[in-house]
């Protein structure tokens, strides 16, 4: 599946939206703290405005290849779930499923999955996640993510 978008126009609108968000959140700052961000916001607005004008009058739509977007959306959703779970469960207990599911999603694109693929993914996930957990916590002295479980 392909879509056509005017990237200049959309980039300009994104820049203007960002400038507006930051502008309305600048608060009551003193001169020394505000002078630089104000200048950057002005510059951002000017560049974004120019991009909008270029997009409106000379922009040519660009074709974007949307193939493979569903696994990406799935991957991002997986990361969000992992993020929600990590503080309540633990690094190893959340990251092993994250690793295994992500590996299987990628492997699935090459063809149907077998039970062996699933077992392999889980075993590799346990080895890799457990291995890095050990390296960080024991060798580097960094206990990854304080949580009830490892």
């Amino acid at each position: 599946m392909y879509i056509r978008i005017n990237t200049e126009l959309l980039s300009g609108l994104l820049g203007l939206a960002l400038a507006a968000i930051f502008w309305f959140n600048i608060g009551d700052l003193g001169f020394l703290s505000a002078v630089f961000p104000n200048s950057v916001l002005l510059f951002l607005a000017v560049v974004s405005g120019l991009l909008v004008l270029v997009g409106l009058f000379a922009g040519e739509p660009v074709t974007i290849d949307m193939r493979g977007v569903i696994p990406v959306v799935f991957g991002i959703a997986l990361l969000a779930i992992w993020w929600l779970g990590i503080r309540h469960v633990g690094f190893v207990t959340t990251s092993v499923p994250l690793f295994a599911i992500l590996a299987l999603v990628l492997k699935r694109r090459q063809g149907p999955l077998s039970l062996r693929d699933v077992i392999t993914a889980v075993v590799v996930a346990c080895v890799v996640v457990g291995g890095f957990f050990w390296v960080f916590s024991e060798l580097l002295g960094i206990r990854p993510f304080r949580a009830p479980f490892p």
């Binding site: 959140n25 003193g30 510059f43 493979g68 990590i86 890799v128 960094i142």
Partner: protein
């Protein structure tokens, strides 16, 4: 001279040589895997340097950097897929040579060209950095502001293909850099009511998020299981002496490519892909047999590989003298320097001369180690790369990235910011907005802000305080350069449109 000898002795210790050996090998593997860039390699290796002292950490990252840029040539030659963007031009002649059964000859040529390029870059850095750091003392706040703007303008025009989009990216980076406590006013800015943002967005967190996560999401999108093996590797073995003769038989090509690499390397944010493409183009333009380029001419490989390896050390010139990274991987090295309390500039060479020069010399040693590691381990590296399943590679890199980000400040919020910026970076790629200007904006934000505010404060007696920014002759030269870059970036389009019309 005493400092240089002390620095050389410091990096010639056995444990230092082992660090360099491991760093080059690790970099070679990462660089040879398509999609994994030098920035990603350095980001992945970063947490493993935390237990090392400042010199050891910098030496390790320098070696990884050198190995990664060279490693990109392997898959460029064998699979027509550049391992890193800086090896794009290596595919033009490297892969045709592989198809002719001359893959190992091509790798040998690439190896020697990389070694020469690496050593040339290090030599230039060693000679030029201290006097340039001295020269940098002439740069006051206004000049530093304009240097930052020049860097943003250059990357906006060179690295993205669209000046306006490049400037937009740079402005977004500058804006992200203003989040947190103001460095001069001391007030809290743009925290959106979320206290963790008071500490600001860490440069390395942003760098990892914007460079690593979009690549991983891109790998998920492509869904490639593994690389297709090449049956044309050839059985003639590595040909060190004949490759050496090939490289040295065209000294002008070698010198020109190294010079191009060095000149482009000092431009902040220009990067290795531009360096190698320009060097390749010039090699073809000046060749007596330009028609052989693209069909397996070793001169093309020499141009590409020597220039991109010059860039590794060459891009450190603005980093070590002005604190402005010449290429995105340098930003990680800057981060490590700041973590160890080291500030770029003249003090780096006077007060911590052994460390600064030791780091530079270690990159020379890393360049020399490319030859034995690349030539002896080449076949093994090739087999490992071919057999590495991408469906395990992507989650493995993700886990290391997450742990590495967390390890920076033992802060779970950093991981959220890294992942969030990564997803945003992936989405805006579709709009033609690249990570490089955003990251450079973030890096240069503090330099630009300090220069800007101090200059404006100095000009409070004027009707328009901002006029203080343009008062000095050096500032005017820098402004002229910025205008020149903008005109140069805009000119070819108008010219070609006029011609088409």
């Amino acid at each position: 001279m005493d400092i240089l000898i002390a620095a050389a002795l410091a990096v010639l210790q056995p444990h230092m040589l082992i660090i360099i050996l491991l760093g080059v090998t690790a970099g070679l593997f990462v660089g040879a895997l398509p999609g994994l860039t030098a920035t990603m390699a350095l980001a992945l290796m970063l947490p493993f340097t935390f237990t090392l002292d400042a010199l050891e950490g910098l030496v390790a990252l320098g070696a990884v950097y050198m190995g990664t840029i060279y490693g990109g040539a392997f898959t460029a030659i064998l699979l027509n897929t550049p391992g890193t963007p800086s090896s794009i031009a290596t595919t033009f002649d490297g892969h045709p040579m592989a198809k002719q059964g001359r893959a190992l000859e091509a790798i040998s040529v690439a190896t020697i060209a990389s070694v020469v390029g690496g050593v040339v870059g290090v030599t230039f850095l060693l000679i030029a950095a201290p006097p340039l750091a001295q020269l940098a003392l002439k740069f006051g706040p206004a000049e530093m502001f304009w240097v930052a703007i020049l860097g943003l303008t250059l990357i906006g025009s060179l690295a993205t293909g669209s000046l306006l989009k490049g400037l937009l990216g740079g402005a977004i980076g500058l804006l992200i850099g203003t989040i947190g406590i103001s460095p001069i006013g001391g007030e809290s800015r743009f925290t959106f009511g979320w206290p963790p943002l008071q500490a600001g967005v860490s440069l390395i967190v942003a760098l990892i998020g914007l460079f690593v996560i979009p690549e991983l999401l891109q790998m998920i999108r492509r869904g490639q299981a593994s690389l297709e093996p090449s049956d044309t590797i050839g059985n003639t073995g590595f040909q060190f002496m004949s490759a050496l003769r090939t490289v040295l038989s065209k000294p002008v090509n070698l010198v020109r490519s190294c010079a191009i690499g060095q000149v482009i390397a000092v431009i902040p944010g220009a990067g290795g892909s531009i360096t190698s493409l320009v060097a390749y183009n010039e090699a073809r333009r000046w060749s007596k047999t330009p028609e052989t380029f693209g069909k397996g001419n070793p001169e093309g490989i020499v141009a590409s590989e020597s220039s991109n390896n010059v860039m590794v050390a060459g891009s450190m010139v603005p980093l070590l003298t002005l604190g402005i990274p010449g290429a995105p991987p340098d930003a990680i090295i800057l981060g490590v320097m700041l973590l160890h309390g080291l500030r770029p500039g003249l003090d780096l060479f006077t007060q911590t001369g052994v460390l600064a020069n030791g780091f530079i010399i270690s990159m020379g040693l890393a360049a020399l180690m490319l030859a034995p590691i690349g030539l002896l381990g080449g076949r093994l590296i090739y087999r490992v790369i071919i057999r590495t399943p991408h469906y395990f590679l992507v989650p493995t890199i993700l886990i290391v990235t997450i742990l590495g980000t967390y390890a920076l400040r033992n802060n779970v919020i950093d991981v959220a910011i890294m992942l969030g910026l990564g997803v945003v970076g992936f989405l805006i790629r579709g709009l033609g907005l690249h990570a490089a200007p955003i990251v450079l904006g973030l890096i240069l934000g503090t330099i630009a802000e300090q220069g800007y505010v101090q200059s404006v404060l100095g000009g409070m007696a004027l009707d328009i305080p901002q006029l203080r920014l343009v008062a000095n002759p050096l500032s005017q030269v820098l402004i002229a350069l910025i205008v020149l870059v903008i005109v140069w970036a805009a000119w070819p389009k108008r010219f070609s449109r006029k011609k088409q019309g």
